[in-house]
Amino acid sequence: MRLLTLIKMQLNVSFNWSALKWYAKHDKKKILGGIALLLFILVSLAPVYYFLAINFLETVYLSGYSLGQPEFILTFAIVAVSMLVLFFAIPFIMATFYFSRDLALLVPLPFLPHEIIGAKFSTVVIQEYLTVLPFMLPALYFYGTGQNAGPYFWLVGILLTLLLPIIPLAIISAAILFLMRVTNLGKRKDLLRYLGMMLMLAAVLGFNYFMTKLEPMTQEELMNLLFAKEGLATLISRVYPPALWATRALAAEGTTALLNLAMFVILTSMGVMLTLYLGDRLFYRGLIGGDEVTARRDISVDRLAKAMSQVSSPAWAIAKREIKVLLRTPIYFFNSVAVILIMPLAMFLPLIWGNAMEPILTMLETLAPLYLNLGAAASIALVAAFAPAASTSFSREGKQFWLSQVMPVVPQEQINGKIIYSLLLSLLGIPLVFLASFLLFHWTNQELILISLVGMFLTLPSITVSLLIDLLRPYLTWSNPQAAIKQNFNAVFGMVATGVLYYLMYQFAMYMLQQQYSDFVIYSGVVASSLLLAALPYGIMVKIAERRFREIIAP
């Protein structure tokens, strides 16, 4: 009963229910605005969702169907969604279990550790449905309608969809509870925790590598699998065996279906029990003392004197502040920095390991260097666009935004500081280009410099438009740093707006290529269009910033 009360309260806080009810009663305009915003986001994302999810899943279904294995789509969706949850839940679980501000309130209350973990785990599971449902529902739809499935399929389908995030979340929860317990010692616990999270990410990547390399098959074995009953499902579920049980629970008949359903449900329950058990054993021991201060470091007179005399311009001081806060807040670091480094690796390393890059490379080699260089420059910008560093820059200030409002620095200069910091962050994409050059493309030094420079210019429109969006509607009332990024629509808006700008630039570049202008003209054109598209949001920001800084009410 107490657990239910706690879950209810956690859900209320996570989804702002009480605030929404209050606004519905007292400020209908705000609620209607919120609904309009949500609709706008859904409409903006609809084309991407259609092509990346619906269209793709339909193709997967038809491919499986043509091989006599319609159930393949179910295994595919279950594996994909579980891997997605597994990969992205690491910072999410870490933030919810250990860095939310309500912990100082909850721990002294008469709750057992497993009750707090249980409530927090439940809210994470429910929030993960936003990742699970958009992929699982179309998969169920294509299979269910294609196979004329009966009520059993739909009921079990919904049940399994709801249970789906639990196993990956339990795995990550167990790993994080263990990590925080063993690192809760000594002076360097923050560093140990960063290293631990990096190790976990490496483990997920390593697991991926291990699975792609598992039992290399001969052509004959592969063909046998392709045409065998459940062949494709067996192949892909090697990465995540419970996916095969879930598939059989849905697609098989009679006792086989029920047995597999029971196996999946039992494993899920074991995941929950493991999380609660480890919660009781490890949670407080990893949490309590987490904020403890190590013995004061006596700062030498010389160092103090030197540090006190270092003068920076306000814009540079703001850029430095942003970088320090970002690097020292694990959640910001993982969402803004690690994503830039890890996402491309996570996408391409499996392809390289699985030898799937060969045909892509052969195709790329036929292209003129100009295309490849522009593509590489665009990839720097695209990777940076995925990191919500600029689109949550004002929001992340949260309750400290009052400082920005009272300091005697014109908003334009503050914005410049944020642009400098975002640009510095986007530089992280450049080592990846060097890595790609070393491993795959073997660019000359001149080309590498050119790609890096054009890439930097290309990030500018994304930075300014994302900052503009965040300035227009900063989310300052968050209660834990994870919410500042993950519950912030500005991150999505920033990506959508960036997508629109990059599409315009792509069309412009294609036009110049078709006109067969010289390489110099094309590079210059791309840089000039970047500057122009960056200047537009920047100009709007400068015009409205002073008014916005006065209007925004810091919490």
Partner: protein, 241 residues
């Protein structure tokens, strides 16, 4: 100096009048105490004075500059210490102070002298290299105070500054406030500690439901309330009337 003329602010589309036609003047060299029950409008008034909230009507002038028309000049000449010391937890005390010195453009020599002086005054020299997240409430309050003093503001505005301070730091702060005003500068602060207000302030204003119900020196307040008792008695009589 501080000048508020006909300042009003309401919330919920006018349903709640937080500040109602407030007229107030604080002269250079004066320590002004701003008193009132919870929810009377003290913090709202202060937030309007420092540019954190926009007044619905009226004008606010600080050192001869209008907050709406010349916000930068106003901000350059004042310092604000909020009631809740929300500062960048992931910066060290020293980084925070340097950041503020940078944005207030305090030259290297002066910043070094002032940092050393105020860190010593508030006994923060040992802790200044640590991250603010490791500070107690009182230490955070002190680091915000030091940051606010680095550019030697003409007008010093503080919202409940004594909360969380240890007795010695509170004493030092009061001494500094007096010293600051003796140089012809202005201090404006809100407080619930009536003894502090009574002993320290040159003039006191009492606000209730957004309206200034009394303002003046202790003697003038006694006359207004027709009560020869302590400030506590006068305050209770005026605010419960």
């Amino acid at each position: 100096m501080i000048e508020l003329a006909g300042v009003s602010k309401s919330y919920n589309k006018g349903a709640i009048k937080a500040v109602d036609n407030l007229n107030l003047s604080v002269r250079p060299g004066e320590i002004f105490g701003f008193l009132g029950p919870n929810g009377a409008g003290k913090t709202t008034t202060i937030k309007m004075m420092v540019g954190l909230l926009q007044a619905d009507s009226g004008t606010i002038t600080i050192n001869g500059h209008n907050i709406e028309q010349e916000p930068l000049q106003v901000k350059s000449s004042l310092s604000y210490v909020p009631d809740n010391p929300e500062v960048y937890e992931k910066l060290s005390g020293l980084e925070y102070l340097n950041f503020l010195a940078d944005v207030y453009r305090v030259p290297a020599k002066q910043r070094k002298e002032r940092m050393e002086r105020f860190l010593q005054l508030f006994e923060m020299t040992q802790a200044v290299g640590d991250l603010i997240q490791s500070y107690s409430h009182g230490m955070r309050q002190k680091i915000v105070l030091i940051g606010a003093l680095l550019h030697e503001p003409e007008v010093f505005i503080l919202d409940e500054p004594m909360v969380g301070l240890d007795p010695k730091s509170a004493h030092n702060l009061k001494e500094y406030m007096r010293e600051h005003c003796d140089q012809g500068k202005t201090v404006f602060f809100s407080t619930h500690v009536l003894e502090v207000a009574e002993k320290l302030c040159d003039r006191i204003g009492i606000i209730r439901r957004g309206q200034l119900i009394a303002c003046g020196t202790m003697d003038e307040l006694k006359q207004q309330a027709q009560n020869e008792g302590s400030l506590e008695k006068i305050f209770l009589e005026l605010t419960e009337a």
